[in-house]
Symmetry: C2
Subunit: 137 residues, 2 copies
DNA sequence: GGTATATTTGCAAATGATTCGCAAATTGCC
DNA sequence: GGCAATTTGCGAATCATTTGCAAATATACC
């Protein structure tokens, strides 16, 4: 494991939510180059040390988000108001996927699931004011 | 509904699988411009006449795929060998999403799920030859 | 039906995330 | 510690998608 890859992995591990490639690049400003971050993310995913999914968000557009694979495979909720992720805990799709594999004769090797909407915090604020506030920068 | 939007919608309705924006642009070559196709796709999604999701595929990279909303909300399997989609039928996540909403106090307004792996056809070919053949162009 | 106003379209260029080529630096191995 | 293999930095390229603006089309109104 090279220094750059270790730095990228620990950035992912230190985060409570998935990070976009560009945020990792930002966090590693001065540590390693943007191209290196992208290459390291590919390497980590290949090595099963990280997982990723592509998400569109009105604030950030289409970006790929990465999370360390230290914990069990899990899914996330994305708040459309504050643009943060909420951890939904370990994946609960095992049964559904096994059913689909059997029904349709497929071999499922990976899956992407995420939910989006309004998180509890933003919903609470919306109860008092007309609209949820925009996320802080 | 303008002519361009109708053309884009009928391209989606005529397709058995979700189409990437660029494939819609290709199908409507000479009918309307690429920028118009993108704008029409946004319009159709806003108007709830179409649904979309962003998918990464080794052959096509990151692209947004669109499907007409004529049928019930559904999910797809993406074959990593032939790069086609398999229709998995109507969404079965209702219960899971309701559980998560209750448990975590979230308001889920949309979700993205897709599975990927090897489809039945490609798996059958792989049984005879060493590797599944690449998709025809 | 004919015209004024609002919306949509085409075109070409911009944008933003991601990737690539290549020379220099780092790593893993003996 | 020295060398071949791999990785990194830098800058430029790529690709999907978006945008500005003038022309064309749609919709509202008379």
């Amino acid at each position: 494991m090279t220094r750059a890859r270790a730095a990228v992995l620990s950035a992912l591990e230190a985060s409570a939510e998935p990070l976009s490639a560009s945020r990792v690049v930002g966090k590693l400003e001065g540590v390693c180059d943007q191209a290196t971050v992208y290459r390291a993310l590919h390497y980590l995913e290949e090595a099963r040390l990280a997982e990723s999914f592509v998400l569109y968000c009105s604030q950030h557009g289409v970006e790929r988000y990465y999370a360390s694979s230290k914990a069990a495979h899990r899914h996330w909720f994305h708040c459309e108001s504050c643009h943060r992720f909420v951890d939904l805990g370990a994946c609960r799709l095992g049964g559904l996927i096994a059913d689909v594999e059997k029904e349709m004769g497929l071999r499922v090797s990976r899956h992407t699931l995420y939910l989006s909407g309004i998180c509890a915090d933003c919903a609470a604020h919306a109860d008092c004011s007309a609209h949820a506030v925009k996320a802080a920068p």
